[in-house]
């Protein structure tokens, strides 16, 4: 497969895009805990779109661990969307933990490929598996 060349200008543009997306993802996550049922669906849809965009951006610069983490977050957000009672602090804190890892990657994107995400994937995967069975 032939890829797009990732030069310094491309990394800068990637970082700038991430720096716009991440605060919105963070405020979106904090917001779903307190949202009323009538607004939750729209807020989750926006949040999933933002995480999906970040996943797409990470795919261009071939940051597989960022793609995987975003994918795990998207999946859990989809489960919350189908079962709104899960929009509670204990679940949101799992997503915020994953967000912290994404932030660490974006602080230094050229080193991001080496950041370990096993713990976050494990936690999100456990929650996804458990609540998928329950829903």
């Amino acid at each position: 497969m032939m890829h797009i060349v990732i030069d310094e200008e491309t990394w800068d543009a990637f970082k700038e895009s991430c720096e716009r997306l991440l605060p919105n993802i963070e405020s979106g996550l904090l917001d779903i805990e307190t949202s009323g049922r009538d607004q939750l669906g729209d807020k989750l849809a926006t949040l999933m779109r933002l995480v999906h965009t970040l996943k797409g951006d990470a795919g261009i610069v071939r940051l597989k661990n960022m793609v995987d983490l975003c994918h795990a977050m998207e999946t859990l957000l989809g489960i919350i969307s189908a079962n709104p009672v899960l929009a509670k602090p204990s679940i949101v804190s799992m997503l915020l933990g994953a967000l912290d890892k994404l932030k660490a990657m974006i602080d230094n994107p050229q080193e991001a490929a080496g950041i370990d995400i096993e713990r976050e994937l494990f936690v999100l995967g456990l929650a996804t598996g458990r609540f998928r069975r329950d829903s």
Partner: protein, 120 residues
Amino acid sequence: MPRILMIDDSMFQRFSLGKLLTGLGHATLEAADGVSGLRLAEAEHPDMVILDLNMPGQTGLETLIAIRKLEASLPVVILSADIQETTKCRCLEAGATAFVNKPFDAETFTDLIRECLSGK
């Protein structure tokens, strides 16, 4: 010089795609959502459109349908991370010229652009 309109809510997707397209000698136009993309398509008559699906407000599919009402023969390539076959079928039925998944192979995508622009 052929002009290609990119419609994608991701600033970075527009940047990286724009870099590829300008490197190939094309001029680019860009829009961050379907409504402004449609407006640009109407006003600027680009030679080709590259369209994302998952965008805020008007979706890519709705934008495609609206573009088809304006320009029946304008090449519109869907570039999306959505890998579901039903999504691809829906887009092709609505008149998409081609459906490409992100991340894409630059060489194959370049060939597709050449094919879409042949004769322009």
